[in-house]
Symmetry: C2
């Protein structure tokens, strides 16, 4: 164990990419995550809407990188650090505390929900950022239908009204998948309930959905959602959330038992807790080579980092997306090796391969390099292909594919389970 | 709603069989279960040992029978009844209370774990009777390996010792599946942990495992388990359980963090709570036609009922197995129809189609009618075939099959996740 020790915090897309990049390098790697599994975040909305089972989007970390010769996995939460001494303070699942020394630290801790301090969101809102969020939302949605079936007067109270806040890809995908779940599946399940009274309201502050997309994609997304019955409210904001209502700006009160909060994220607070320099939304400020300002042995990547985007007009950092996390994770790993070799580091360049968002069954928008814009069924096929490709690195791809194909063919949703694993 | 109203409590094998049998009958049926899903209990041990995901053994009730014209599903717990008035008191998932009137009541509420009052079992033992049990055991087993990997001194403390109590099919299946999980999967996952030190101890009070089976099957089961490294302790009992030890009769203290309790079940306490006549282990006493003694409009079937077994030498009722539940559920439903038609009822006859138990990968014992006894690989194929057939009535069969085939081929276990959906 004389080799330099690289500790990677977080087994998301970025942390895994960094870990894999270090395979074969003359270092010992410890990958730390509070869960023993990686979460395939882009498909969480499918768990929340009963399309996929939780195990379909969660992959044991040890199964992905645990057999890498120079890598150890450690299931623990980072609760602090002594940056001078190069030591992390960890807490295990059974609350036991331990120290972990590092020579290089790659912080890939991701992000959490940002409620922007809007009253009631913290307490009543349903975020959709990790697996527990997704399962909690699934249970709640199905419960509302069971409750309304037993007592239809609850419909007027808002039991079947679902307000989704945030017109980015997550909000658009959830809204589209919810309305499909209601009208294609639950409508058959609940024979005596007027499922047609179920409402999905998508609220977005800006004048358009999917703002980073081109105008043609934005219009298509809106039209496709509205064709499926989603009420799209752009230029609107939420002022306050209560258990059975949402108050919009201007005072409009929407009776509603379910607010899905997809309006924004902030960096994992561990970054600030460790005393690293953070900027807007708690993101760690990094140099061009992704090292943290003032801490040459510490690197930050993915959602937790504010990585400069030379193409941005308004000095915004790169968006918090999986491709940024993967590419920055690989880059940071390479810089660690260069530094250990005594070589100089290189600046990070992000290669934008495009973005996409699905809008339910057989509909999507996709913007690829070279100005290629797809929408409708071709975009959905592109989305499907890309996600199957991304999933190919993981074990559950076969099960995901089988479930998707089954759902698509039969309009069924197998995992519509109200289940909590209470301890 | 002038038609007679049949209420079925419990959506296990028995309740579902009764519900399906009433399709097309001139009655209105309400099926009540506290969960919105049916649990495929024979495969719970595979969830507990990371072989299948929880969604693979849980099927939405509304997907199975919800489209039956004369059937309503109601997710609720029975909290009491007014048997004179023919009314059940229900509590919904959100704690709202309601009454449900019935003309005929079919009680198919199943069973729960029986700890036989042994000190510590209630608090420290891991039962394996419902889905939450299985997920809780899976989380705990994997956690013990994570903890021992972070601190190997825990192995001496019992972190990797797993005591399974009960030498019936469940105990044998869990013990076999645990040792496979350890030696085929976790041994690769935990490179620096001496997984060879993990112990599985199977404790059975009687002199043999699988007592209802023939001698040749019992011997095969024992040999197959021992060949896989399970320590079989027959003629032994557990006196007391603590967080990190199990005390056997004679005072032997086994350091152990995990006690799986598969030693026996008792009828769902709802039977006694409703004031129905109950006998040994809380099972409801029924007449030959399965009606409850003294309550001609109430029927009890499956695990909750003590159904006389004319072939038993010791006056024991029929065993608490899925085939008994299914056949008795169908019979009770037919008797309800006969009674409503003004016809006399018929006595129930159980047709024993045999029993089987798996002992891990490619090994099983099976005893079929006509004295056919299988063991080893042929028995395992029979087990596989039967379970695929049983699963064929449910939606997830494809996913189960894919997961099984993958596991069998690759010695992998995808859903080895430590995950709790905390609310």
């Amino acid at each position: 164990m004389d080799r330099p020790h690289v500790v990677i915090v977080g087994a998301g897309f970025g942390g895994l990419a960094a870990a894999k990049e270090l395979a074969g390098a003359p270092v010992d790697v410890t990958l730390v995550d509070k869960n023993n599994f990686h979460t395939f975040q882009p498909l969480l909305y499918q768990v929340a809407t009963s399309g996929l089972a939780s195990a379909d989007v969660a992959y044991p970390v040890r199964g992905i990188v645990g057999r890498q010769e120079n890598l150890e996995f450690r299931q623990a939460t980072v609760i602090g650090a002594d940056l001078e001494a190069g030591r992390l303070h960890l807490q295990g699942d059974g609350h036991e505390v331990a120290d972990l020394a590092y020579d290089h630290l790659v912080l890939a801790a991701g992000a959490t929900t940002n409620t922007f301090g809007i009253p009631g969101v913290e307490h009543h809102g349903f975020p959709l950022y990790n697996l527990a969020d997704a399962v909690r939302l699934r249970n709640h949605v199905l419960e509302r239908f069971e409750a309304a079936d037993a007592d239809p007067s609850l419909i007027d109270d808002g039991a079947l009204t679902f307000v989704v806040v945030g017109g980015g890809p997550t909000g658009v995908e959830v809204a589209g998948a919810l309305t499909e779940l209601f009208h294609m599946v639950l409508d058959r399940d609940f024979k005596h309930l007027d499922v047609g009274r179920a409402r999905v309201v998508l609220v977005e502050m800006l004048p358009d959905l999917l703002t980073p997309f081109a105008k043609v994609s934005r219009r298509h997304a809106r039209e496709a959602l509205e064709a499926r019955g989603v009420e799209v409210r752009t230029g609107a904001t939420v002022d306050r959330v209560r258990a059975t209502s949402v108050e919009l700006d201007g005072g409009e009160l929407v009776p509603c038992h379910t607010l899905v909060w997809a309006a924004g994220v902030q960096a994992n607070p561990v970054a600030a807790a460790l005393g690293l320099p953070t900027g807007r939304a708690g993101r760690v400020e990094v140099a061009a080579d992704l090292s943290v300002q003032g801490h040459p042995g510490i690197w930050a990547i993915g959602d937790v980092a504010a990585i400069a985007d030379p193409k941005a007009k308004d000095a915004r950092p790169l968006p918090q997306l999986a491709p940024v996390a993967i590419q920055s994770g690989r880059h940071a790993a390479r810089q660690v090796v260069r530094r250990l070799d005594g070589r100089g580091t290189e600046p990070f360049h992000y290669l934008d391969k495009g973005t996409m968002a699905t809008i339910g069954r057989s509909r999507a928008v996709a913007e690829l390099p070279l100005g290629i814009k797809l929408r409708g069924f071709p975009a959905w096929l592109a989305w499907l292909g890309l996600h199957l490709l991304l999933l190919a690195g993981f074990r559950n791809r076969l099960s995901v594919f089988v479930n998707w194909f089954w759902n698509w063919l039969t309009y069924d949703r197998g995992p519509r389970l109200i289940f909590r694993s209470r301890e």
